[in-house]
Assembly symmetry: C2
Homo-oligomer: 191 residues x 2
Amino acid sequence: MTNILQDHIKKTISVDTEKLQLLADFFEQKVFAKKETLLSEGKTCREIFFVAKGCLQIYFVKPNGLEQTIDFAIENWWTSDFMAFLKHTPATFSIKAVEKTNVFILFNSSQQKLLTEIPEMETYFRLIFQRAYAASQKRVRLLYEFSREDLYLQFSKNYPDFIQRVPQYLLASFLGFTPEYLSEIRKKNIS
Amino acid sequence: MTNILQDHIKKTISVDTEKLQLLADFFEQKVFAKKETLLSEGKTCREIFFVAKGCLQIYFVKPNGLEQTIDFAIENWWTSDFMAFLKHTPATFSIKAVEKTNVFILFNSSQQKLLTEIPEMETYFRLIFQRAYAASQKRVRLLYEFSREDLYLQFSKNYPDFIQRVPQYLLASFLGFTPEYLSEIRKKNIS
């Protein structure tokens, strides 16, 4: 499994293969079962997660007790509560596994050592965060530009496999629909 | 003026002062007048901007011809169309000066040379993008959590100086209000 992260790093930056052998010392590998929690709102956030296989849901719990999904992370994405990770403060949202998910975990106690021993990883993380921020900027524009129904149609066109993979109630929560309304839109656009 | 960027870098990372003297070779300094355009939708985006003094508006033009503000950048913030900058594609939104604004510009033609000659700048930009992404994740949560009226009240509480500084029609556009509706909310909450 280490190879999945190594491959992602090799695709992103140029680095000697022998240096990549050192990576195992810095990352913890873990498998989470479907619906298992990786990070809980209110707990100090000390780690960031790389999805090697599977899918994670990032959400918070609304005053009415319902989960509001704000993001997903699938293969080759990093996720965490990055503000809480940076500031060593309690997480403001939770992360759990949508399906059985294999992750690599980087704890903040290992991060500085990793960056000192393999300085190329500064470039890797610079590019990871640069891309993530660019994608997020694009997302904010889409939120302003499209109605929620149009967002769903855009999403279906751009990520057809993802739409099939994620339970519909989670997709509805992400899009801010009720599951019933999502079901209506789907019927309308299939017929 | 170089000192403003140097100070920001020194606050963010540890780097020899003599290395910082080299910075002037990589950045272009420019002053934009109020309402002057820095980046136009549709034009190839080759640069990123650091605001030394002033305020920038990031927006796109809706089919009805109105500007939709999606973000602002004030002192010590970097901005650009980061996806277009990364992929060397046409910008999907525009940037213009809200007031007279002094910026440092880093062109992609200089970026690689800067990172090679001053490798500490990899750490600087890693931290810049990590913070920007963290802030954006927090913003997405707020967009799901609060009504637009509550967002305005939160915003007023957290950034009182900013609320005074930015023209109300731009603030209304950012919050997705009409200027008239914003004016009503303000009156309601002052009285």
